[in-house]
Symmetry: C2
Subunit: 136 residues, 2 copies
């Protein structure tokens, strides 16, 4: 079962750890009470879906023996104006070097979108939550 643990450091700073020993520092900008020493929690949603689709597309292009040299994924988010300001729409712009054929990149993208990308599928459907809140 996938799991993670976050530990509060000070102010708005947390250190997030996965089960494999990787850590990410989370923080917010000064106007929001932080010290801007790490990525904002809400930005990780964009990193997550772009990373998931990027990984799928690279994996599939490699299986197709495409001549992949470069790839970028740019994301823009549109958030609701009122609290809780949820993301209502995400726009992904995926680009490779021109030696990859239009057909290969399109087909790899479609397989990620329609079949493989767990993060995209998560964001497209409601997730259920359980909470357990208290003191040590």
């Amino acid at each position: 079962m996938p799991s993670a643990k976050l530990t509060w450091v000070e102010d708005a700073m947390f250190v997030a750890s996965d089960t494999r020993g990787h850590t990410v520092v989370l923080d917010v900008k000064q106007e929001a009470g932080g010290s801007d020493s790490g990525v904002q929690p809400a930005d990780l949603i964009m990193f997550s879906v772009a990373g998931c689709m990027g990984y799928d597309i690279v994996s599939i292009l490699k299986k197709k023996r495409a001549n992949l040299q470069r790839m970028t994924v740019e994301v823009e988010g549109e958030r609701a104006p009122e609290h809780p300001k949820r993301y209502v729409r995400l726009k992904l712009k995926i680009r490779t070097n021109p030696e990859v054929s239009r057909e290969d990149i399109q087909r790899s993208f479609e397989l990620s979108r329609d079949k493989y990308c767990s993060v995209l599928a998560t964001l497209r459907s409601p997730v259920e939550f359980d909470f357990d809140v208290g003191t040590e």
Copy 2:
């Protein structure tokens, strides 16, 4: 408008950047074709919602002048068995030091859950997507 950019490095490794200059290395374990040099894209969903709720709860407890010294947020994810193996349920366990009153931690958590946490609200509702895919 929030935005992010990911650049492919090699194999399953990407570097994700926000607009404030913070970066996160993404990668997957060796069995999945990576070199395990960074966090998996799907794990960032857990970091994101735990960080968002942790930030809200710390901010509200500070306004209440609670005696907050420690906080942890543990997350467990339940994924669907079949591709795309989306997260169907996330369980969050939130703990502070015992000097914080039960009422304060509960009320701060409820404000995050019901009013402020943008990531929780994002995960509870379907997000729309636009894609633009091609070569440079």
